[in-house]
């Protein structure tokens, strides 16, 4: 092919020119080494050609593996606290049924009211009992919004219990958003179970 031949000629001519050019280049390079400062830090081995910049990556630079427990000097989580955190993320059996919510809603449904009335009776009979109300969501939507929605569900259950006469001081709430589904399924049946407030008597 004519093209291929042109390439070959071109390459040959280039090669000749290169040889010549390199011959000159070497002289130039030798001449300039002493006079031209190297860009960047000088290399450890002193062999870096002009233009090659040395850069040392410190082990710390953005790549620290965090120790699993709090390292010395941190202001967080003692062992006891960490254990509490673990316990709080486990599903405990409840004296009471979960109450359920509509998608993206936090109002107390009619089917939840008898359950809340039962909880209220228990709390009023058992003075000193503490109740943790957990708010949960289904897997749809984003984690952050669901965390706030779960908070609202737990709080709406809490307010309803207070309205029935449960002392506010006996109640606390926590939202786990969509992080603790009761049913791991990915359908409306599972979602309906997961949109819930869960009650833990302490």
């Amino acid at each position: 092919m004519g093209n291929g031949r042109a390439w070959k000629y071109g390459a040959a001519i280039l090669a000749v020119m290169m040889v010549f050019a390199f011959g000159c280049a070497k002289k130039q390079a030798v001449k300039s080494t002493d006079t031209t400062p190297t860009a960047g830090a000088p290399s450890a081995e002193g062999k870096a050609p002009e233009g090659v910049v040395s850069e040392t990556l410190k082990p710390e630079a953005g790549a620290v593996e965090a120790p699993s427990a709090g390292p010395a000097g941190t202001q967080v989580a003692s062992v006891a606290e960490a254990a509490a955190g673990v316990a709080a993320t486990e599903e405990k059996p409840s004296l009471f049924q979960d109450i359920r919510f509509d998608f993206d809603k936090s109002f107390i449904r009619d089917d939840a009211k008898p359950i809340l009335a039962g909880i209220s009776d228990y709390m009023k009979k058992n003075r000193g009992a503490k109740l943790l109300v957990e708010g949960h969501c289904d897997e749809r939507g984003t984690s952050e919004y669901n965390m706030a929605l779960g908070d609202r569900r737990a709080d709406s259950a809490r307010k309803y219990l207070v309205s029935l006469g449960v002392p506010a001081g006996a109640l606390s709430t926590v939202s786990f958003g969509k992080e603790k589904p009761l049913d791991p399924g990915h359908n409306e049946e599972a979602w309906a179970k997961n949109r819930r407030a869960h009650f833990v008597v302490r």
């Binding site: 090659v52 040395s54 850069e55 993320t89 984690s143 609202r152």
Partner: protein, 438 residues
């Protein structure tokens, strides 16, 4: 410099050009803002290495190829075509046989040499313009062997810069939360743009969620349930120290740091009402910046720090709003995609906001102007695409893709033309946050 003069001699002979630029960087080879043009052909020959370090060296050209492939500006020539073998002498004065590279169409050649000593590694890489026969960039990196991919990313930045004049973001990282095991607990991880070797930041077997980067990239703010209740912590990634920052209220999640890094915007619920607060890093002093009767969450600040995007359900369903922080009123709804729009991410590099919206029974990622105009679908699949986070140059978005319990992180270019899977393997992968520039 000797190098420039050498290339000038080359230029006189080969191209017949009398006047030439003093430095390679003065030439804009590729306009990064004009995609869709001809791609620059690049050769990435195997790196020079001692036999024992071959595995270490083998991955580097692949990382370079993947990084350059993200730009749609380069085309890597398959290695079967290469005529010249790179030798140690190429790093000690011997010049490349540029005609051999031009013959196969390579306009740029990246060569590299890897030397390992114990767990320390030195990687020298050089970028040559084979048309002009000159070195465009040269770097010798040394550091721990586990940073070899980070080194490759750093040189990919140099390659992009040499040809476009624009700094790359290839050495940035993505923080996210995921379940490492079969339990429900979630930990925070950080992974590079190659998606390899996600490294754990937390390991306390509770819920660790919503990682957010400080502007200097040294600190991650996140929510942890490790004491049983949610607290926002600041983790110093350089020395591993940590402190609790947001302890008041009930549910809380960090949204974003202020552009100067002196405060954190976070949503905190008090008595069931979630509002957005600015919390000063130095002393945890608190100021409410967005309030409403319902849920106000997920603040994302504009690059100039003057406006904030957030989610509110004040209109009956969650939607994205923008507020001018200087003005006392005027919160404008900007999402109009569907009945459920959340998780705004304000681009640090352009005036655009990405967010998640539900339509047709699934979640997709949209982008919109801060005034609510020009809304476009960016990422959608046969599952849910959520939680977008812009790259520091605004050219890419990382997001979560989920389908029936399977989850992965994906990256897409902001124009939607290019995309890849970044990370999979854990369950519950979510809340990705793109780091600032290194």
């Amino acid at each position: 410099m000797g190098f420039v003069r050498r290339s000038s001699i080359m230029l006189l002979f080969v191209a017949g050009v009398v006047f030439f630029p003093a430095t390679a960087r003065a030439i804009l080879y590729i306009d990064i803002n004009a995609p869709g043009g001809r791609r620059m052909p690049v050769a990435l020959p195997p790196f020079v290495t001692a036999a024992g370090d071959a595995a270490l060296a083998a991955g580097i050209p692949k990382v370079l190829a993947d990084d350059l492939g993200m730009t749609a500006l380069f085309e890597v020539i398959p290695s079967e075509a290469y005529l010249e073998k790179i030798l140690p002498s190429h790093f000690a004065g011997k010049l490349l046989s540029f005609p051999d590279w031009k013959l196969i169409g390579a306009e740029a050649v990246v060569i590299g040499k890897v030397e390992a000593r114990g767990d320390q590694v030195t990687v020298e890489m050089r970028l040559y313009d084979s048309t002009m026969g000159k070195m465009m960039a040269g770097r010798r990196y040394s550091g721990p062997a586990r940073h070899v991919r980070l080194i490759a990313h750093k040189f990919a930045n140099e390659v992009l810069y040499a040809f476009t004049g624009v700094r790359g973001i290839f050495d940035t990282e993505i923080a996210f939360s995921a379940r490492p095991g079969k339990g429900r607990d979630k930990e925070i991880y950080v992974v590079g743009l190659d998606g390899q070797d996600a490294r754990p930041i937390t390991n306390n077997r509770s819920f660790n969620l919503f990682p957010r980067w400080s502007p200097d990239g040294n600190t991650l703010a996140y929510t942890s349930f490790r004491t049983g209740v949610p607290v926002v912590y600041l983790r110093n990634l350089r020395d591993g120290t940590e402190r609790a920052l947001v302890k008041f209220g009930n549910t809380k999640s960090p949204g974003c740091f202020s552009p100067g890094g002196d405060s954190l915007y976070a949503s905190v619920s008090v008595d069931g009402n979630s509002d957005i607060y600015r919390v000063r890093i130095s002393d945890a002093a608190v100021e409410k910046v967005v309030e409403g009767w319902g849920i106000e969450v997920s603040p994302s600040i504009s690059p100039d720090g003057k406006k904030i995007a957030f989610v509110s359900n004040r209109g009956g369903s969650p939607q994205v709003y923008v507020k001018d922080l200087a003005a006392s009123s005027g919160e404008r709804r900007i999402s109009h995609a569907g009945g459920y729009s959340t998780s705004p991410s304000w681009s640090p590099g352009s005036d655009r906001i990405a967010f998640t919206s539900q339509s047709g029974g699934k979640f997709s990622v949209y982008t919109v102007n801060p005034d609510g105009s020009d809304q476009r679908l960016l990422a959608s699949g046969d599952g849910d695409s959520t939680d977008p986070s812009y790259s520091p140059d605004g050219r890419y978005v990382v997001y979560t893709f989920q389908k029936k319990g399977y989850s992965e992180l994906r990256i897409i270019s902001a124009d939607g033309q290019w995309g890849k899977r970044l990370f999979s393997g854990f369950s519950g992968v979510g809340s990705p946050a793109w780091s600032p520039r290194r």
